[in-house]
């Protein structure tokens, strides 16, 4: 194509002279001749990479691998620190018992990021080093050149070369050549067509419209419900508080409390029973978060008025204590429960295991009842809170039983009168020897 249009360029200097060859040997020989003649602005064109051409043309090794290496290392830094920031800093949460920063789990993604960075760098780096894409090239307009991407080989010497001399160049290329032709300069203008700028400006403006709409949407208020493509169960056929409803005579969707029912939160009004603090020591708002930050004086020393402390209550406390607490603290409350014994056996303190407290210690004895109740419900140190498993009444019963243990077990049996010492029963199960 384009024979006619090429003639337009007659006034300009030609792009260069092209020698076309039919086989590898000839093109290699031609390339060597051109190299040895000292030309600088020339190239050979082949349908496939010809082995030995780099040497024949004297092409220096590309530095593309170094670009790839640098970007690969950048990718590694990005992959590792990105994950560190996301999971250990920005949005840290515990999952499957792993530390928030667990390197083994971050290696696969870091690896993929390295590969992605390096691969894209290699591809785009190849294009950049070759100055591609280039959609217009004088050689593309030369009909004889078309077969060079299929089954012909070409050596092109540009007319811009300082040694360029049409006659000599033709002679140099003619040996073994199928033909030698002159490639005219590209007749098209180098810049983009003028209409392109107008179209591009309009297109750019159009693309800003959605952005502008989004911006406006984020900063405007509206009385209408938001438009939902996916409703995600946002709209359901039910009444919500503060809504009107025609179902009831008074026109309200929310109903008043019925006799004999308990409203949400009503149970928490007894602060002594629920939180172990003096009545009204907590603000109504604060009670949801529990009794954190209350002054020591606020803990009650005795038992809530709502409870009766009697033998049945103590029995209940002993039973609950043996179920929930003794596995760690031991039946006697001395901290030698089954879990503690096992942990000692496998020397778990190496990994940061913290032994259960001895409930008979003077420190625990010194705590108020309210405080012990709070710890049973909310935990302390590595102990978890048991509020979800043990109802408040039972936690108070456990407090009572802990007091009973403190009163009975902390006494040194050897101080008992001899007659009574003989009668003392053997130690209960699980309280025998400690670890080695």
């Amino acid at each position: 194509m384009g024979k006619g249009r090429l003639n337009m360029a007659d006034s300009k200097a030609p792009y260069g002279v092209v020698g076309i060859y039919t086989n590898v040997d000839d093109v290699l020989a031609a390339a060597r001749r051109v190299r040895d003649a000292g030309f600088t602005r020339w190239d050979s064109h082949t349908p496939f990479p010809v082995h030995g051409m780099d040497g024949a043309m004297g092409i220096k090794m590309t530095f593309l691998p170094w670009i790839t290496l640098v970007m690969g290392l950048t990718g590694m830094a990005f992959g590792v620190f990105g994950q560190y920031w996301v999971n250990a800093k920005g949005y840290a949460f515990l999952i499957s018992g792993k530390p928030v920063w667990s390197l083994p789990a971050n290696i696969p993604v870091a690896f993929e990021v390295v590969i992605a960075f390096s691969a894209f760098t290699t591809f785009f780096g190849m294009l950049a080093l070759n100055k591609l894409p280039r959609l217009s090239h004088p050689l593309h307009r030369l009909a004889e050149f078309a077969r060079v991407t299929s089954d012909r080989f070409a050596v092109v010497i540009e007319s811009g070369d300082p040694r360029f001399d049409s006659g000599q160049v033709r002679k140099l290329l003619a040996q073994d050549a199928e033909q030698v032709v002159e490639c005219p300069a590209d007749p098209t203008r180098a810049g983009l067509p003028s209409w392109f700028h107008g179209v591009a400006a309009i297109a750019t403006c159009l693309t800003l419209i959605p952005l502008a709409m989004a911006y406006r949407g984020r900063h405007a208020t509206s009385g209408k419900p938001r438009y939902a493509v996916w409703t995600d169960m946002s709209f359901q056929r039910k009444a919500k508080p503060q809504q009107a409803s025609g179902l009831f005579d008074d026109g309200r969707a929310a109903r008043k409390q019925l006799d004999g029912t308990i409203a949400v939160g009503q149970l928490f009004e007894d602060q002594e029973l629920r939180f172990g603090v003096q009545p009204n020591a907590l603000s109504p708002v604060g009670r949801e978060v529990g009794a954190t930050g209350v002054p020591d004086a606020a803990w009650i020393a005795g038992f809530p008025a709502a409870l009766t402390v009697d033998e049945a209550f103590l029995d209940r406390g002993q039973q609950r204590f043996n179920i929930y607490c003794s596995v760690c603290h031991g039946v006697r409350g001395d901290g030698h429960g089954a879990v503690a014994l096992r942990a000692e056996e496998i020397r778990a303190m190496r990994w940061g295991w913290i032994a259960p407290k001895n409930l008979l210690s003077s420190a625990t004895i010194a705590r108020t009842n309210g405080e012990i109740f709070h710890i049973a419900g909310h935990g302390i140190s590595t102990m978890k809170g048991y509020a979800a498993q043990i109802p408040a009444n039972d936690r108070w019963a456990i407090v009572a039983w802990v007091r009973a243990l403190q009163a009975s077990q902390a006494i040194d049996a050897r101080r008992a009168p001899d007659a009574q010492y003989q009668e003392l029963p053997a130690l209960p199960l699980g309280v025998t020897q400690g670890g080695r």
Partner: protein, 490 residues
Amino acid sequence: MAITDPTIDLGGQDPRVRPQLVEGNNNFTTVTQMVAGIPEQPVAKTDKLWIALFLLSLSVLGVLGACLAYLITTGVGVWGNNNPVFWGWPIVNFVFWVGIGHAGTLISAVLYLTRQNWRTAVNRSAEAMTIFAVICAGMFPGVHVGRIWVAYFLAPVPNQMSMWPNFRSPLLWDVFAVSTYFSVSLVFWYMGMVPDLATLRDRSTNKWRRMIYGIFSLGWTGSSRHWHVYERAYGILAALATPLVLSVHSVVSFDFAVSQLPGWHTTIFPPYFVAGAIFSGFAMVLTLMIPARQYFNLGHIITMTHIDVMCRILMATGMLVGYAYMIEFFTAWYGGVMVERFAFVNRAFGNYWWAYWIMVSCNVIFPQLFWSKKMRRNLVVVMLVSITTNIGMWFERFVITVTSLSRDFLPSSWAYFRPTWVDILTFVGSFGLFMTLFLLFIRFLPFVAMSEVKIVMPSAHAGHGHTDGHGPKSHANHGSHNGEGAPQHG
């Protein structure tokens, strides 16, 4: 001196002679014509068989679209997934497709690095197959998330919830691995195709084709200075894609193996999955390549030698998979873990015994036919075995996913998994997507990497251009010599 008597008959396997990679009396011109002739066929003159197949694929693709629309508007309850088999067919299909998507990049990258020159005949179409298979694969976990409109949660993009994904989860590794694999494979495929697109551009007689091929060939002129950078880039991409291929199916295997579920939690999973992926990928390459080769008359380029080699790889990877089956069974016993032993006995003799034995026969037993050269060169047998391998590898993923989940630690939660019609039609539909893309590819793009096939032809090397009595056969494969003292010699 070594070559004594070239006339000794060694039954066609004379070790002194490398088989020619391009058979027949072909040269650069005929190879170009053979390959470029396919996409150059005018649209109006498209072959009727192609149109029929394309329409069929389109209608199956329509089934997929309908199933997905139904699924998305209704919810994942339309699938057979139940408690405890939360991962039913969608994940089986995902692993199946992503496994198939391993052969292409393996052929282009690993075989490039190991200088297996026969790869040039099949790498282009295998890479295309890879990309289409990964598209099919990515679709399944994509819709499996349920509310697909919040699938962006998977990507670490700043959002209104100030929430970030959990990088300690293998499911997120999968997102990264599969998307990296897809994009890098696409780049690799496209980059390999640029010179061939330039060939199509320069040969086209139609203005539109010239323009479209022209844009996508990026102005490639075949400049040797460009080829130099291009070849380095290709080598680097191959070196990057090789560990990438290993990593992708390893990460898929981590989805299973990091859990504590018996039958999933075993250390051989990563290489075992990779071997299985290559196995299924090669099976799919054979399944597609043999009909295409016959249909397009490419027997001189995709020769029986190529098919023979691929059959041997198929058998080798099949045995690697068999090795993993065996080691898993042995270790289930040797490890002494009760639940692990149960899981494996249950696999072979439990509710899904039939699936297990389909898997074993298709993956381990049938490929043994390829010990015989005669079988490797019988196209019907090769076709049948490659198809049974595809079936077997689907069942492998089914066996792993479903048998282990349906019999977990708690007998009270045991359940039997049954697919629903939506499951089945979605899977069938994914073949429609795959075939539609593949048919478009073979119709409009160069099916064989012309420029790469030309490199492995004897006349591509100095000293072979002229007939000088030095038969081209003697080192068609490796011998590549020029008179230039290559600068690297020290």
